[in-house]
């Protein structure tokens, strides 16, 4: 079956902007002209944050990886680096992400399943063994328990002899989006934002090259947001963190340069490219005009972009290899700093080495064979792309104004209104997919009766959890318990006093206190988040 043969008279992209059959200079002018275009490396950075972009250095390749335990994950890291990967992007298991130790009853059946299990600093020492942290930058996909894992990363690097003041790396650490999508929250909204603020403030002072937050439109898009909402909501969230910093007395230029973004790519190619170009200009304008930044670096919308999980399908999984290639192409045409592609088997399982290698080769083909690194922002000047860039930017501004009118992003997240809004949209999209109104190849058109080719499943072994518990018990037996108790008490005392808890958490992880022990101390002060259920 093919999709409807006759296209409707009016076509709109997912963001609701009409797409015409032809664009001319007049459309560019009518949409606001080219005054936001400029040059790469110059304000407003629509064309890219650097003058030379990929000509100087291609994007960083950073496949999302982690499973079972630190040892197995370390082996996969080395495999990827040997195959040309230039950064790491660490996946943690759900107990680690939600602040539970491996031996917690709530962790049963989940240890090491969707990522690597981490209990103490010892796991970090093993996971990054043999990896040059100056050459390979590490991104930690961690949110609810991010303060603890950032502390572990800094402590591990310091122990290895690196100068923390020069250390680069990224943590996802965007808790506001976890309340909208992805769901690895622990504490209520307000103390959660306070913890993010503590990490930004701590890093600004002690690890100024480290990027403590990567604000994610990605998961909001996966939860049902349109492309323009993905950007607009992410900017609202980033502003909430920035406002918290200003309240602490920091100047925008002291931290904004280390904020980064994580965005999604699936859907219409031109809408995606316009989305990123528009977003770069808008973010630069916000930081310069609304926040008074002077340092151009503060205005950069640095991003990891690609992923595309929501675009991949469980049907005809090999088609996802091709989709991944298009998403990588879009990302390169959009000036991303970093890419991570979801693998073709990822709708089913933890990706195999084979699938990871195909994703890497996809990006390498763009770099080596397709000329994507030779010229900066090659779609600039297209009447269509420039018009769409203007219209997407205007749409994002409208959406941000709507959020303000509703009381701001923190209020909307706390009350569950934004969650209800995107999930209602997700439902509409799902209905369109099921009816065929929204074509999806292999899903609602061009289906096949052939039996699906078997995807190789990543094995899960319960014995890994037993081994991890054994390792944890060994660390507990060897550590200085008095020091653990003292540092944990300090974490609680600092949380109660409203101080920045990062110094105390760093001391606790150095004493080999566990993720669960530190989280429990914070829970004693902050309590747990209660999810608002709204439909």
């Amino acid at each position: 079956m093919s999709p409807k043969e006759i296209k409707p008279k009016e076509i709109r992209n997912e963001s609701g902007i009409e797409v015409k059959e032809l664009y001319t200079e007049a459309d560019v002018e009518a949409s606001g002209g080219v005054n936001m275009v400029g040059l790469p490396g110059e304000y407003p950075f629509t064309r890219g944050i650097h003058r030379e972009m990929y000509r100087k250095r291609p994007w960083t390749m950073r496949q999302y990886t982690g499973f079972a335990n630190a040892k197995d994950t370390n082996e996969r890291f080395h495999y990827l680096i040997e195959n040309g990967q230039t950064g790491l992007n660490v996946a943690f298991d759900l107990p680690t992400q939600t602040g539970l130790d491996t031996d917690d009853p709530l962790a049963e059946g989940e240890v090491g399943r969707v990522g690597m299990a981490v209990d103490t600093l010892r796991d970090f020492e093993i996971a990054f063994d043999g990896i040059d942290l100056e050459k390979i930058t590490v991104s930690l996909t961690i949110n609810g328990s991010a303060a603890i894992l950032i502390a572990m990363y800094l402590a591990m690097a310091e122990k290895r002899g690196y100068d923390v003041a020069k250390l680069r790396g990224t943590a996802q650490n965007d808790i506001l989006k976890e309340f909208i999508g992805r769901g690895t929250w622990i504490f209520p909204v307000e103390p959660s934002i306070k913890l993010v603020g503590d990490t930004i403030e701590y890093c600004a002072k002690h690890a100024p090259k480290y990027s403590p937050v990567s604000v994610c439109g990605y998961h909001i898009r996966e939860s049902g947001a349109t492309p323009e909402q993905e950007m607009a909501y992410a900017f609202c969230i980033a502003k909430a963190y920035a406002d918290d910093m200003l309240k602490r007395g920091l100047h925008i230029d002291e931290f904004a340069g280390r904020l980064s973004y994580n965005f999604n790519i699936f859907g219409n190619l031109f809408e995606q490219v316009a989305k990123f170009r528009a977003g770069r200009g808008l973010w630069a304008k916000i930081i310069k005009e609304d926040y008074g930044a002077k340092d151009p670096k503060s205005m950069w919308m640095r991003m990891i972009a690609a992923g595309g999980g929501g675009g991949l399908t469980i049907e005809q999984p090999e088609n996802n290899i091709v989709r991944g290639a298009y998403y990588a192409l879009i990302s390169a045409l959009s000036g991303a700093q970093t890419m991570a592609l979801c693998c073709f088997d990822e709708a089913y399982t933890i990706p195999s080495e084979y699938a990871q290698r195909i994703s890497l080769r996809t990006m390498q083909m763009l770099i080596e064979e397709m000329g994507l690194c030779e010229t900066v922002d090659p779609l600039a000047g297209s009447y269509y792309v420039e018009t769409m860039t203007n219209k997407m930017r205007q749409k994002m501004e409208e959406t941000m104004a709507e959020v303000e009118a509703e009381g701001g992003i923190i209020k909307m997240v706390s009350e569950g209104t934004i969650q209800a809004k995107v999930s209602a949209q997700a439902y509409g999209m799902q209905k369109d997919l099921q009816s065929g109104a929204f074509p999806k190849v292999g899903v609602n058109c061009y289906k096949t009766d052939e039996e699906e080719k078997e995807v190789e499943f990543h094995p899960y072994d319960n014995r890994d959890a037993d081994q991890q518990i054994e390792n944890l018990n060994k660390v507990k037996a060897e550590r200085d318990q008095a020091e653990v108790d003292r540092t944990l008490d300090q974490v609680k005392a600092d949380a109660e006093a409203g101080h920045n808890v990062m110094p105390a958490i760093v001391a606790a992880v150095k004493a080999y206190a566990t993720v669960g022990e530190i989280t429990s101390k914070l829970v004693e002060v902050y309590g747990y988040y209660q999810e608002p259920i709204k439909f």
Binding site: L94, P95, Q97, T98, L100, L106, A107, E108, G109, E110, R113, V114, E178, G181, R182, G183, T184, W185, E222, S223, G224, T313, I314, E315, A347, Y348, T349, S423, A424, A426, Y427, Q430, K431, Q434, V443, F457, Y460, E531, I533, F535
Partner: protein
């Protein structure tokens, strides 16, 4: 028997936070006229079964995306007996690969709706089974 009175509990067991699927299926069932109670994220098997008993539901639905469906269902099964809910429809949806379907059916799951299932199929199944049970 009034089908509009079908009561469904949608549970999210375990630590995973991917609730896109659970929420869209809840909306589809509400549109079909069912009364749906959604537990929210991160519930233990006991919390889910307690809620099902308290709300006196006809259907216990689980949504699982992160691969832990077998251990969850294993822990949930004896609780259904304990709470005298063994006669209720017990269904699961999400990232549940076909290689596990037999194990789940053997455990007592009435139906499995993996990723890609249509709303109509889920709703029609519940309605027809409800008619049989009534």
């Amino acid at each position: 028997m009034n089908e509009n009175k079908i009561r469904v509990l949608m549970g999210k067991p375990g630590l995973d936070g991917h609730d896109h699927g659970a929420k869209v299926v809840v909306r589809a069932m509400m549109d079909a006229g069912f009364e749906v109670i959604y537990t929210g994220l991160r519930k233990t098997p006991r919390q889910i079964v307690e809620a099902a008993a308290k709300e006196n539901v006809d259907v216990i639905g689980l949504s699982s995306m992160a691969g832990s469906h077998i251990p969850f269902c294993k822990s949930l099964k004896p609780l259904l007996k304990e709470y005298n809910l063994e006669d209720k429809l017990w269904i699961i949806g999400g990232n549940v690969p076909s290689k596990d379907h037999e194990t789940l059916k053997d455990m007592g799951l009435d139906a499995i709706f993996p990723t890609g299932s249509h709303f109509d199929d889920i709703i029609d199944y519940i309605k027809s089974r409800y008619r049989q049970l009534a």
